[in-house]
Amino acid sequence: MSYRAAFDAEEAAEIISELKHLEGPLLPILNEFQTRFGFVGEEAVRLVSAALNLSRAEVYGVVSFYHDYHKEPRGRHVLKVCRAEACQSRGGDAVADAAERALGIRFGETTPDGQVTLEAVYCLGLCAVGPNAMVDHQRVVARLTPEKVDALATEVRL
C-alpha cells in the first residue's frame, strides 16, 4: 500500500463531507486522511476542526494521542522492526542496528529520497520465529539476521 505523501485540501473536504454524518465522525475522517495522504498535518487539523465545529486544540489532542497518525509525510514504504524482549533475546539488537545502517537513518526517520520510513514495533506475535519485521503493514518477515536485513532494505528501497 502506498500513498501520495501530499495533502490535498479539496480531497480532504470531500472526505469530510462524506463522513461527517457518522456518529463520532472525527476518527473515521482522520483515518481516511492518514490512509490517503499518509499523514495528518496541521492544515488537516484546521480543516477538520472547522468542519466539525471543534477547537483545533481538541483535534490536535486526538491526533497526537494515536501513534499511527503521523504529523509529517512518511516514506512510501514503512519497515517496522520488532524491538520487544523476545526478539531482543534472539539477536534483535544486531538486526535493528543493521536496519539503521542499511537505510542510513535512525528509527523514526525517513530516507532522504522519501522511499522508506524505519519504525520500531513492539511484538508482532511471532516470538518463536524472531527477530521479526513487517513491511508496509502487511508482509511479515521472520528469522531475520543482519544479512537478511541488508537484502530486505535493498528490496524495500526499490
Binding site: L54, S55, S64
Partner: protein, 948 residues
C-alpha cells in the same frame, strides 16, 4: 485584613432537592443526592486530599489522591467521582489509603523541580499542600529518571506564563477552558510520559492559540505551571479585598489580592453572584492603566484650550472653576451650565453630580453617557412593563431552553455572561441570533445557532414585527398569560396590526434581506421551544428606532408569556459597569433618582426639602442638545466626569465644534482624554481601586466597590465633586459614600432597603429592595407587571433617513472586541493591545474585490459626516454590502463617520447604521492628521515650578 481563602469543595454543588445521609469518618452527614463523597466530606469539615478536583469543574478522577474506602465495597474508589448513597460508611484515612496516597505523591514528586523556596507559588500550591497532608518524607524513586524538567516555558501571553516542568497533567486547565470558559483552547497532547498541556497545535503558543486569556486555567492550576506574571514579579499577596470590576455591565466580583498598596492580581470571587467565579481578560488582567505613566495626578488649568496646561493646586483649580461658573451664569443665565456624568463612576458619584447640577447650577442640564447606549431600554421597558430595567438575573439563563440574541455580541462585549450562556447552549438550549454580522456565537466550538438571521443594519423593527406576525397569525401566542397579565384591548389592537400582510416575513424580506422561511422557523422556535429568553445590546438601541425595537422585544416576550419566571425574560446587556446605576441615579435631564419625572411635584419636593433649594420642573438639555446650544452660544460651561464624549459620541466634528465654543470645560478623568483637548480645567480622577461606592450591573445587582489603595490623585471622585460643589457655595458635606447611599435609599422607593451594612452582609442585592422585597428582586414581574397590566404598543417600521445610494453604497455598523473596552482609555494602556493594536475595517470579499482592496490594505472610509482611514480585513463574517469596525482607538476615530441621526424617543445616536463608501488609500486622512496635531499641541503641560 487577611487573604481570603475560599473553600474548595472539590466538586460542583448538586442541584437535587433529595437529601441523602451517610457516615464519613464516624460523622453523620446529610447532603443533596448526587453530591460526591469528596464534597460531602468537605461539608462536614473533612478535607480529602485532592489534586485534579476543584469545585468549579466536574469531577474527573485522574490524580488518584482522593481515594477512600467504603464499607462493604471493594477497592479504593476516588471520592470525587463516587456519589454518596444512603447509609454509606466512608473512611477517608486508613493505613491502606495513606500508603496509596504517599505512593502516588512519590511518583508526582519524582518528576517535579524541587525549587519550592524560589517558586512563585510557594505557599499557594496545592501540590505542596498535598505533599504535606500525606506526610511525604522521601521519594523512593529518586530524581534521576526521565523527567520534564528541561521543558521550555511559554511566555507568549503578556499576563501569565506556562511552565511545563511544573505540570502534573491533572487537566484542570484544559477542563476549565472547556467547562467554565467554553473556548476549548487547551488539550493534553501526546500520551503517557509525553503527555503535555498544549494550547492549540504543536506550532502554536498560548498567544497564537484560540486562548482568550480569561484566566480560568491559571485560576484552576494547582501548581505554578500556569502563573500570573505579576505574582512572579511581586510575590504572593498578603491580604485581599472583595470588589467589583469596573469594565462591562456584567459586574463581576473579584478579590483584589494585595501586597500593601500594590495590586498583585485580581482573582474572580466564587461568591460573586454575577460571575460565579469566572472572569475575562479585561477584569482579570487589564489593570495596568491604574498605574500607567499617562495618568494625570495633579489638577491643571488654562485660559483657553489653545494654551498649554498649567499644573496648579486643588484649591486654585477649584477656585478657577467656581469663578468661571459664576461668571458664566451671571452673563448667560442659569441655564448656561451643565454636566455629564458617567456610567463608569459609582452610584454615589453619579448621584452627587446630578445634585450639583440641580441644587448647585440650579437647572436640569444633567445627562449621562447612557444617553448614547441604553436610553431606549429605559424608555421601552418602562413603557411596556413599568420598569426601566432587565427582568432577570444572570443565573436565569441556566433554565432557558431557547435563547434569542439580537444586536449583542456576548462573547466579546460581556464575556463572562457569554461563557455562562455558552454553557447552557452546550447543555442543549437552542440559539437564535439576529445580527448583520456572523458573531462568534453563531458558530463556535460546541455551540451552533439553530438560526442566524443576518438582517440589514437598521431593520430590527421590521424583523421583530415579522416575528410577532408569525406568532400571532400561526396562533402561537400564550392567551392565558396575555389575558391575565396584559391589557387585552391593547393586545387586540396590536395583534391586528402585526397580523397585517405587509408585516409578514414574506413582505419584509426585501427590507431585512432575510429569507421569510428562516424568520418563520425562528419565530416558531422562540414561541414554542420552552422557556425563551431574549438578550439584546446596543445593536438594538443605537438606531433611529431604538426605542421601538425595545418595545417590539417586550411585545414578543409578552405575547408568548415569557416573562416573570426563571429562564425567560427581556435582558438588556449593559455596556458599561454602571449604566443601570447611572440611569437609576437621576442622571437624565427629565428624571430624578428612581425614574421619577422632574415635573412630578411630590418627588421634587422630597429633594427640595432635603437640599433646601428650589428645583426647576423643566427638563434640561440632553447631550446632543448641549452641543447644539453651545454652537448657538446659549450653553457655555460643562463639567464632564469620566466620559470621553469626543471619541464616544457620534459625528465627532459636530462634538468638537460644540466643545470648542464653550468658555469652561471641566474634564474630570484619569487621563488627558480626547475631550480634554478642548478643556480648560482638568481635575484628576481616581480609579475603581481607589474608592468606595457601588456599581449596579445589568441584572439590577448593586455590588460594592471597595477601596484597596489610596487615590493616587489625592481624592476619591465623590470628594472632588463635593469640593467643586462647595467651591460654588453649595452646602454639600457627606462623610462618605455610605452616607450618600443612605440619602439615596431615604429618597428613592426602589432603593429603600439598601445600605452598606446590608450589602456587606449579603454581598449584593438586586433592586427593587424595599419593604415589599427585603431581599431584593432577582426576577421581576413575577406576580404581575410593575405598571399593572403589560402594555402592547404598535411598532411601525420606519426606515432610517440614513440610506445607501450611489455615493455611499455600503452600510457601516460598529461594535467592540473582547480585548478592548469602549474608547479604550483603559485597555489601550494595558498589554491587551497585543490582541488588538488598531481598529480594522471588516469588509466582505465581494465588496473588497470590486474595489481592489486586499487584506491589510489602508482604506478610506467616507460618509456624509466625514472620512477616516484604517486597515482592511477581508472576511465573510459581514454580509456583502455591510462593513464593520470597532471604535476603540482615537487614531481611527470611527465616529468622525457616524451621523447625528438618533432615536426618536431618547436621542440615542444611530451608531449602528451609516452609509459609507470605501476606497483604497495611502494612509491617514487630512482630518486625522490635523486632529493629531491639535491633540499633541493641546497636551502640552507646564509643571507648577516652571510657571512660577
Amino acid at each position: 485584613m487577611s487573604l481570603i481563602h475560599e473553600t474548595d469543595y472539590g466538586t460542583p454543588r448538586s442541584k437535587s432537592e433529595k437529601e441523602v445521609t451517610l457516615t464519613i469518618d464516624g460523622f453523620e452527614v446529610s447532603v443533596p443526592e448526587g453530591t460526591s463523597i469528596m464534597r460531602a466530606a468537605m461539608d462536614a469539615g473533612i478535607q480529602v486530599p485532592k489534586l485534579c478536583a476543584t469545585d468549579m469543574l466536574d469531577s474527573f478522577g485522574s490524580c488518584r489522591v482522593c481515594v477512600v474506602e467504603i464499607e462493604g465495597r471493594n477497592g479504593t474508589p476516588a471520592s470525587c467521582t463516587t456519589p454518596v448513597a444512603a447509609g454509606m460508611k466512608v473512611s477517608t484515612q486508613t493505613e491502606r489509603l495513606k500508603k496509596i496516597r504517599k505512593g502516588v505523591m512519590e511518583l508526582y514528586i519524582s518528576d517535579h523541580p524541587l525549587d519550592c523556596l524560589t517558586c512563585a507559588a510557594n505557599g499557594d500550591c496545592e501540590l505542596q499542600d498535598v505533599a504535606g497532608a500525606v506526610g511525604l518524607r522521601e521519594v523512593r524513586y529518586g530524581y534521576e529518571g526521565r523527567n520534564h524538567l528541561g521543558k521550555p516555558k511559554d511566555q507568549s501571553n503578556p499576563y501569565f506564563q506556562f511552565d511545563p516542568s511544573k505540570c502534573i497533567v491533572c487537566s484542570r486547565c484544559v477542563r476549565a477552558c472547556n467547562e467554565v470558559q467554553g473556548t476549548f483552547a487547551l488539550t493534553i497532547a501526546g500520551r503517557g510520559f509525553d503527555a503535555i498541556v498544549s494550547a492549540g497545535l504543536e506550532t502554536d503558543n498560548f498567544l497564537s492559540s484560540e486562548c482568550v486569556s480569561c484566566g480560568a486555567c491559571v485560576q484552576a492550576c494547582p501548581t505554578a505551571t500556569l502563573e500570573e506574571k505579576s505574582v512572579i514579579a511581586i510575590g504572593t499577596p498578603e491580604h485581599s479585598v472583595v470588589t467589583t470590576c469596573a469594565y462591562c455591565g456584567v459586574g463581576c466580583s473579584f478579590k483584589a489580592e494585595m501586597r500593601g498598596e500594590e495590586l498583585v492580581r485580581m482573582v474572580p470571587y466564587k461568591d460573586g453572584k454575577a460571575n460565579r467565579g469566572h472572569s475575562c481578560v479585561k477584569g482579570r488582567f487589564a489593570l495596568g492603566y491604574a498605574t500607567h505613566k499617562d495618568r494625570i495626578l495633579k489638577p491643571m488649568i488654562r485660559e483657553t484650550y489653545k494654551d498649554p496646561w498649567q499644573e496648579v493646586s486643588w484649591e486654585d483649580a477649584l477656585a478657577f472653576s467656581a469663578a468661571k461658573i459664576k461668571s458664566i451664569q451671571e452673563r448667560y443665565g442659569r441655564e448656561a451650565m451643565g454636566a455629564i456624568s458617567s456610567s463608569r463612576c459609582t452610584n454615589e458619584e453619579v448621584y452627587l453630580v446630578q445634585k450639583l447640577v440641580r441644587a448647585g447650577f440650579g437647572n436640569n442640564n444633567i445627562d449621562t453617557c447612557a444617553r448614547v447606549c441604553h436610553s431606549p431600554t429605559g424608555y421601552g421597558l418602562k413603557t411596556t412593563f413599568g420598569t426601566s430595567a432587565g427582568t432577570q438575573d444572570f443565573d436565569s439563563v441556566e433554565d432557558s431552553d431557547v435563547i434569542l440574541v439580537i444586536g449583542a455580541n456576548p462573547t466579546d462585549g460581556h464575556p463572562v455572561f457569554g461563557s455562562r450562556m455558552k454553557k447552557r447552549l452546550r447543555e442543549g438550549a437552542k440559539l437564535i441570533v439576529i445580527d448583520p454580522r456572523r458573531i462568534d456565537l453563531v458558530r463556535t466550538p460546541h455551540v451552533e445557532a439553530e438560526y442566524h438571521l443576518p438582517l440589514k443594519p437598521g431593520t430590527n423593527v421590521a424583523m421583530l414585527t415579522a416575528l410577532a406576525h408569525v406568532i400571532v397569525t400561526e396562533g402561537l401566542m400564550n392567551e392565558t398569560f396575555i389575558r391575565e397579565r396584559c391589557d387585552w384591548d391593547e393586545f387586540q389592537d396590536w395583534a391586528a396590526f402585526v397580523a397585517q400582510e405587509e408585516r409578514s416575513p414574506e413582505a419584509v424580506a426585501e427590507i431585512t434581506g432575510v429569507p421569510a422561511e428562516l424568520v418563520r422557523k425562528a419565530a416558531r422556535l422562540y414561541a414554542t421551544g420552552g422557556n425563551a429568553a431574549i438578550y439584546y445590546g446596543l445593536g438594538v438601541t443605537e438606531h433611529s428606532q431604538g426605542s421601538t425595537s425595545v418595545i417590539a422585544i417586550a411585545n414578543l416576550a409578552m405575547v408568548t408569556g415569557n416573562i416573570g419566571r426563571r429562564g425567560v425574560g427581556v435582558n438588556p446587556l449593559r455596556g458599561q459597569n454602571n449604566v443601570q446605576g447611572s440611569c437609576d441615579m437621576g442622571s437624565f435631564p427629565h428624571e430624578l433618582p428612581g425614574y421619577r419625572h422632574i415635573s412630578d411635584d411630590a418627588t421634587r419636593s422630597i429633594y427640595e426639602d432635603l437640599w433646601g433649594v428650589t428645583i426647576s420642573s423643566e427638563p434640561g438639555l440632553r447631550i446632543p442638545n448641549m452641543f447644539d446650544a453651545a454652537m448657538e452660544g446659549t450653553f457655555k460651561g460643562l463639567y464632564c466626569q469620566g466620559e470621553d464624549i469626543l471619541q464616544s459620541d457620534p459625528d465627532t466634528k459636530h462634538v468638537s465644534a460644540g466643545l470648542a465654543s464653550l468658555e469652561l470645560l471641566i474634564v474630570h478623568d484619569l487621563f488627558l482624554n480626547e475631550t480634554a483637548n478642548y478643556a480648560n480645567v482638568f481635575l484628576p480622577g481616581s480609579t475603581f481601586l481607589e474608592k468606595n461606592g457601588t456599581f449596579t450591573n445589568a441584572e439590577r445587582r448593586i455590588n460594592r466597590v471597595r477601596k484597596v489603595m489610596s487615590p493616587r490623585n489625592g481624592y476619591e471622585d465623590w470628594q472632588v465633586t463635593q469640593m467643586l460643589a462647595q467651591a460654588i457655595g453649595l452646602d454639600m458635606n457627606y462623610s462618605g459614600p455610605s452616607a450618600i447611599m443612605d440619602e439615596i435609599a431615604a429618597t428613592t422607593p426602589s432603593f429603600a432597603g439598601v445600605n452598606y451594612a446590608m450589602l456587606d452582609e449579603k454581598g449584593s442585592v438586586q433592586w427593587p429592595c424595599n419593604e415589599a422585597h427585603p431581599d431584593g428582586s432577582p426576577i421581576m414581574h413575577t406576580a404581575g407587571f410593575v405598571r399593572g397590566k403589560g402594555k402592547f404598543v404598535v411598532t411601525e417600521y420606519v426606515a432610517t433617513d440614513e440610506r445607501t445610494g450611489p455615493r455611499f453604497p455600503l452600510l457601516l455598523t460598529t461594535g467592540r472586541i473582547l480585548s478592548q473596552y469602549n474608547v479604550g482609555a483603559q485597555t489601550r494602556r494595558t498589554d491587551n493591545v497585543v490582541w488588538h493594536a488598531e481598529d480594522v475595517l471588516e469588509i466582505h470579499p465581494h465588496d473588497a474585490e470590486q474595489r481592489g482592496i486586499r487584506p491589510g490594505d489602508w482604506v478610506r472610509l467616507d460618509s456624509r459626516s466625514g472620512s477616516t482611514s484604517l486597515k482592511a480585513k477581508v472576511t465573510d463574517r459581514v454580509a456583502p454590502g455591510v462593513v464593520y469596525t470597532t471604535f476603540h482607538h482615537p487614531t481611527t476615530q470611527a465616529n468622525v463617520i457616524t451621523t447625528d441621526y438618533s432615536d426618536w424617543a431618547t436621542n440615542c445616536p444611530e451608531y449602528k447604521v451609516t452609509a459609507v463608501q470605501i476606497s483604497p488609500s495611502n494612509g491617514p486622512t487630512d482630518w486625522q492628521e490635523g486632529y493629531r496635531e491639535l491633540s499633541n499641541e493641546s497636551r502640552r503641560i507646564m509643571p507648577a515650578e516652571a510657571a512660577e
